[in-house]
Symmetry: C2
Subunit: 239 residues, 2 copies
DNA sequence: CGAGGGGTTGATGGTTGTCAAGGGCTGTGG
DNA sequence: CCACAGCCCTTGACAACCATCAACCCCTCG
């Protein structure tokens, strides 16, 4: 069930058989939730964290006045809320953007990990730091890239992250979001999202249609985005 | 030297005398750097992390074409780059925005901490998760708040964070940044920063002048910002 | 005294937001 | 089987926020 999660971990560090067993042993159950479900509500106390097994989820901050910002998209293999273990509550919702399956990990298990598995603790600490690096790149996009570059950059990021877990085929990947949800990632209005998508499509760079991203020209997409993947920390650590 | 750092830690968790000794024992030296110094350069390998003792520093992402985005401001007591311990290099610069003093902590010491001090490891893990929460709030600002609210929100955040380490007096605190640097926090141009500052000043809410932030009406400032401090996780944990 | 950094102001333009309407598709129930 | 609701996408007209460009002021410092 959490094979993709291990794939993601092993892309960046060495996980021993014993550590793998410990991780697998920590999964206390699983949950299937339909599209548009709030999996974890902001500010609620929590005692379990969720590994995304399948589907697309996100971290969503809601201003209440109708304005909302997605601060990260989650792909299969992601630990959507390990940070909940140390924070005790989240400052944002975890929302399933499509039908999703999650593997559940009690915080007690993470507590035990910190007591007895120093290396694994560092691996998951790294994981939350990677999330923070993604947040920073999004802040850069939101602050200093125009709508076109911002959108291209998001498509580049997802390309890399999904390829890591084997979900890119022939330069295309599934992303069954609405244009409204995409807007909430990019900090623009749905109308402008629509027009930006049309522009990228007409230039033959990338297409977003019927829940799929089809990259026609990856080099061009990266150029439009100004994409530099180093913020995703893709090299494996030497232990 | 790192009293403010301990103040910050103890605001959110219980630190034993033994743990305090371990932290203090980890400081291998200190560094004084003048304004505008890059303390840690993006993508350089690193083996030491820095606790900010005095001054204001930031995390800065540079697009190269003149566009740059500050993703977090650091105040005295902050561990500006603990995340460098697990990431091995940073995806952004650490820049001293004023004359700064830092306490240096070798990564070997943090490594030892993860092996022998599980609770302290959780404390510092929490710390990086708090940074990520701040990143998310900034992403929300950059994506969904207008310039006025964004600026007000930043002043609110700094008010809380500086108060925690005893650096707010009579509703005012030092913030010796230029308007250009403030612009790089807010994702707007210096010209617009200037006009937004004038607006907030003329409304009697807050004043930013000669390196000081003077809050005239905190309630109004928080209202303009839509400020909710819960993302700063101010309650102390019960161990 | 001149250079340079920082701040201020005015005029103008562009990216993006807002408002409003309509089209296509899907699912459902009469 | 058709009517209709609802969601999603698309388009056009217009407005607003913010960027750009350019100039000027003030202060400090060599």
């Amino acid at each position: 069930m959490i094979d993709k999660h291990l794939l993601k971990l092993r892309a960046r560090d060495v996980i021993s058989a014993e550590e793998e067993a410990f991780i697998r042993g920590g999964v206390s159950g699983s949950a299937k939730v339909p599209r548009d479900t709030v999996v974890v509500r902001a500010f609620d106390p929590i005692h379990t964290s969720n590994i995304l097994v399948s589907g697309i989820a996100c971290r969503l901050k809601d201003l209440g006045n109708g304005r909302r910002q997605i601060t990260e998209l989650h792909v299969p293999g992601d630990f959507t809320d390990v940070h909940g273990f140390s924070l005790k509550y989240l400052d944002h919702d975890i929302l399933a953007l499509t039908d999703c399956q999650f593997a559940l990990v009690p915080h007690a298990h993470l507590q035990e990990m910190t007591e007895r598995h120093a290396h694994l603790t560092r691996v998951y600490w790294f994981g939350t730091n990677l999330d923070a690096a993604i947040h920073r790149e999004w802040a850069l996009s939101l602050g200093r890239r125009d709508a076109t570059a911002r959108m291209a950059h998001l498509f580049c990021e997802l390309y890399v992250r999904l390829e890591l877990v084997g979900l890119v085929r022939q330069g295309a990947y599934d992303l069954p979001l609405t244009q409204v949800e995409l807007s909430d990632c990019l900090g623009i209005t749905p109308v402008h999202t629509n027009r930006t998508l049309q522009q990228l499509r007409s230039e033959g760079v990338v297409e977003f249609r019927s829940g799929q991203v089809i990259v026609h020209d990856l080099a061009a997409l990266e150029a439009v985005a100004g994409f530099d993947p180093r913020y995703l920390y893709l090299q494996r650590m030497q232990r």
